[in-house]
């Protein structure tokens, strides 16, 4: 089952097997990526070409203007709003989450288990459970329809997952190191940011990425708490864009592609952190 296929390829029967194996896998891949390929082809096409030849054909000529037009029709705004919200949410969130996770793992705190369970509840609460009271609260605080308000909500909802991941990693920091620092008279605060946090750096990076992607993709809170078009974040803006320009598939596809590019870049360059982060969450 877990034989290294390519290395056993010397025998003639084996090599046909290998070719068949790769052919099958590549076919499956094409099938799997067909929606994405369609998206890219559509974004590069001119609307007439699309209407005549459909989605799954090579463009007659590449129309880059789709991207600039989509960008100017509103995607630009959505994009920068998403950058702003993600840019504030992720670092602030991780700071709070890692402090909390550190207290729960290394500070000999007798309430640690109970508090951790209390925090884990947040992982399973359906968003719908919180919407009405949050609407009232945000209204009272004048935070409806502001990116600040949305960012605060994101930080709150990010706590359970962040604490879970950071706690998983802090637990791998040897107690001996912490104890040694204590004996040397190091304050807890110093131990946290000079010793534990640097040791957990891979976890911080993982969490940054997972959290960044989740924030970038968030929909329901943005939908409820942002009202004006110029404040919309990308997922919300795109759905809005799709109802407004429902027939301009070329521009819509270009808009979707623009929104996906940052995610793809992060994914391509930081894949191992995805794996590490998700692994840390279930350890």
């Amino acid at each position: 089952m877990s034989q290294p296929l390519s290395q056993n390829a010397s025998a003639p029967g084996k090599s046909t097997k290998v070719i068949l194996f790769y052919a099958g896998l590549i076919l499956a891949t094409l099938f799997w990526l067909a929606p994405v390929i369609t998206l890219i082809l559509t974004a590069l096409k001119d609307a007439g070409d699309f209407a005549v030849n459909g989605a799954f054909s090579l463009p007659k000529f590449i129309r880059w203007a789709n991207f600039s037009e989509a960008w100017e029709t509103g995607v630009k705004n959505y994009f920068w709003n998403s950058v702003l919200v993600t840019g504030f949410k992720v670092p602030i969130g991780i700071a709070l989450e890692s402090m909390a996770a550190f207290a729960l793992t290394h500070m000999h705190f007798k309430w640690a288990d109970r508090i951790f369970t209390y925090i884990l509840i947040g992982l399973i609460v359906p968003m719908q459970m919180t919407l009405v009271p949050l609407t009232l609260l945000m209204n009272a605080l004048n935070l409806i329809d502001t990116l600040t308000g949305l960012t605060i909500l994101y930080i709150g909802f990010g706590v359970p997952f962040g604490v879970l991941v950071m706690r998983g990693f802090f637990r791998t920091v040897p107690v001996a190191i912490i104890e040694a620092a204590r004996i040397d008279g190091c304050s807890w605060w110093k131990i946290f940011y000079r010793i534990a946090l640097p040791l957990a750096l891979p976890a911080v990076v993982s969490l940054c990425i997972l959290d960044g992607v989740a924030t970038w993709n968030e929909f329901i809170l943005a939908q409820i708490f942002l009202r004006s078009d110029e404040l919309r974040t990308l997922p919300l803006g795109l759905v809005q864009f799709s109802t407004q320009f429902s027939t301009q598939y070329d521009q819509l596809a270009a808009a979707v592609l623009i929104s996906v590019v940052p995610i793809v870049l992060v994914f391509l360059f930081c894949q191992r952190y995805f794996v590490a982060g998700i692994g840390g969450a279930v350890k």
Binding site: M1, P4, A100, Q128, M129
Partner: protein
Amino acid sequence: MATASTPEKTAGLMSRASKSAKASDDQLRFLPWLFLAPALIIYSVVVVYPMIYSSWLSLFRWDGVAPTKVFVGLENYGILLTQNDVFWVALKNNAIWLVAALLLPTSTGLGLAILLNSKFRGSHIFRSIFYFPSVLSLAVVGLIWTWIYHPDLGLLNQALTAAGLKAFTRNWLSDPNIALYPVILAATWNAVGLPMLLFLAGLQTIPEELHEAAKVEGAGPVRRFLYVTFPLLRETTLVVLAITAINALKAYDIIYAMTNGGPANRTQLLSTWMYFLTYNYNQVGLGTAIAVVLFLLTLMFAIPYIRFMTRKT
């Protein structure tokens, strides 16, 4: 002690040291709270308090605007169960969605993990490719698949026509009898990555020697899977099933992006129907009651999961 230091200085140092030792004892009691406070406060205000308040609100008849709410006890739940047909449609759709989510992404994820766990050339690239849809937002996944299902221009109908199966083409998302299934398929595309990743991690903890030993004993690949791999993946499987179930009950964005609950409310889920009742029809009591029902459903899967997560402490 350095000769240069005056007696006063020494005394000062010593008293500071003993003071700090004493302070650290006191500190131990409240310092963890200080570290926890920012996260706990914002989490409690944003997540926990609204959750409790929602449960309370589900006992009132209220339009969300009027200054007075009428306490009606469990009446909202009664209305949902006896008079609100869409509630039952949504509940049934949630059940279908849940069953599909427990079967499709999990088994596909397991299959891919087993396939891609073997170290052939390029296995890492294939892992990324199959994981890729999972990093896209469900709104984007919904939009992309809406095109795939487009009656005239969509890939699906075009492919069916090209394959000579024109009889099978239809308006996938407008046919009330089937519209839910194309949406579930799109959600599955997005949901496969996580189980795959978790199963891959699980497979890597199984020592190679076990497989070798089984092979020596003459066990074929199927038997090795059934008697070696699968039993050792039991814990991973439980985590995967719990997470997929919890995520399945959270589905919302993709419905909103693809069908908006239509045609004729036939693709509503509890999550989307809660939104409609609360924000379009101003039935805040009914809406929050649905949210509570959704939460109780989630708890069925979440309680074993949380037990598992906190078990090792």
